[in-house]
């Protein structure tokens, strides 16, 4: 087990793409570099009344060959589209066959193929309820089918959380 400082250091160096839905229906898609949100899109109809995470799908990337500048992140994610979509396809098949992401720990899928040296990726997903878990394979598939569109449509994050 890595130490706390090692884990925090690795979070500060990682790159993540995520898509998540809250219980109140708000859907957020975004990219974080290190621990900072750099691109984001948030959609919600009506009032915000419960920010609890209903489900979440994250692509977590780590390694020495990750992009380090904000401007390089989207092109990098798009350049590895085929490897990412292939993993999402196989993971959605695994989910559809029966997995329980409502358990204690998030479900993880790390069987990526053809990644460049110095890069590792994994998909991590959670669901609050079985109702949400039931549709998780569809959410994973949606991300696969709309990968380039989702990445391209993200807007720079200007807000800064104090």
């Amino acid at each position: 087990m890595a130490s706390l400082s090692e884990i925090i250091a690795s979070l500060k160096q990682g790159l993540s793409f995520y898509r998540q839905e809250r219980v109140d229906g708000g859907i957020r898609t975004g990219i974080t570099l290190g621990m900072a949100s750099i691109f984001e899109r948030f959609e919600i109809e009506g009032e915000e009344w419960d920010p609890s995470l209903a489900w979440s799908v994250e692509l977590r990337c780590s390694g020495s060959s990750l992009p380090t500048g904000t401007a390089d992140v989207k092109p990098w994610l798009l350049a590895h589209e085929s490897q990412i979509k292939d993993a999402f396809r196989r993971f959605s098949e695994q989910l559809a066959a029966g997995s329980d992401p409502t358990g204690v720990y998030p479900l993880q899928f790390a069987d990526f193929r053809g990644l460049p040296a110095g890069v590792t990726m994994k998909i991590v997903c959670t669901a609050l309820r079985r109702y949400d878990a039931y549709f998780l394979a569809e959410h994973v598939n949606y991300i696969r089918e709309h990968w380039s569109e989702l990445v391209k449509n993200l807007e720079p994050t200007f807000h800064k959380i104090s």
């Binding site: 087990m1 979070l11 995520y18 219980v23 609890s52 720990y105 609050l128 949400d132 104090s162």
Partner: protein, 134 residues
Amino acid sequence: MREKILDTNKLISQWKRRRKRPLGDYETSDVEVWAAELIELYETNCILTPVYLEFIGGVIDRREMELSRAFLGAFSILDEGDIRPEDWTKACQLAERIPQDTRPRGAIDCLIKAITIRLRCVLVTDDTGMPRHP
């Protein structure tokens, strides 16, 4: 990832899951590892002031307090203790929202959700208390 806040129940379940022996058998370095596991799993070290209070409020003796402080010390309190009038207003609105099953809405839960909304974050929780489809 700063967008995700860990709810008290996530901290408590990790604590209970990892504690196999009497607390006297553990050092502060052990509970820091428990916290690190949770941080790594969810890729966030963020909690809120009410989460800290709720966790510490369940402690029953001095040793557990010492270890709890070490455990909680691994996390970052995103609101930095700055709970604003608008948070209380929003918490009140959430408390007034009667779910179909009429289950009581906890004051701390409502406050945690109100602050989470203001900070534009999501709450990682096991609490299914509020209805999916009101």
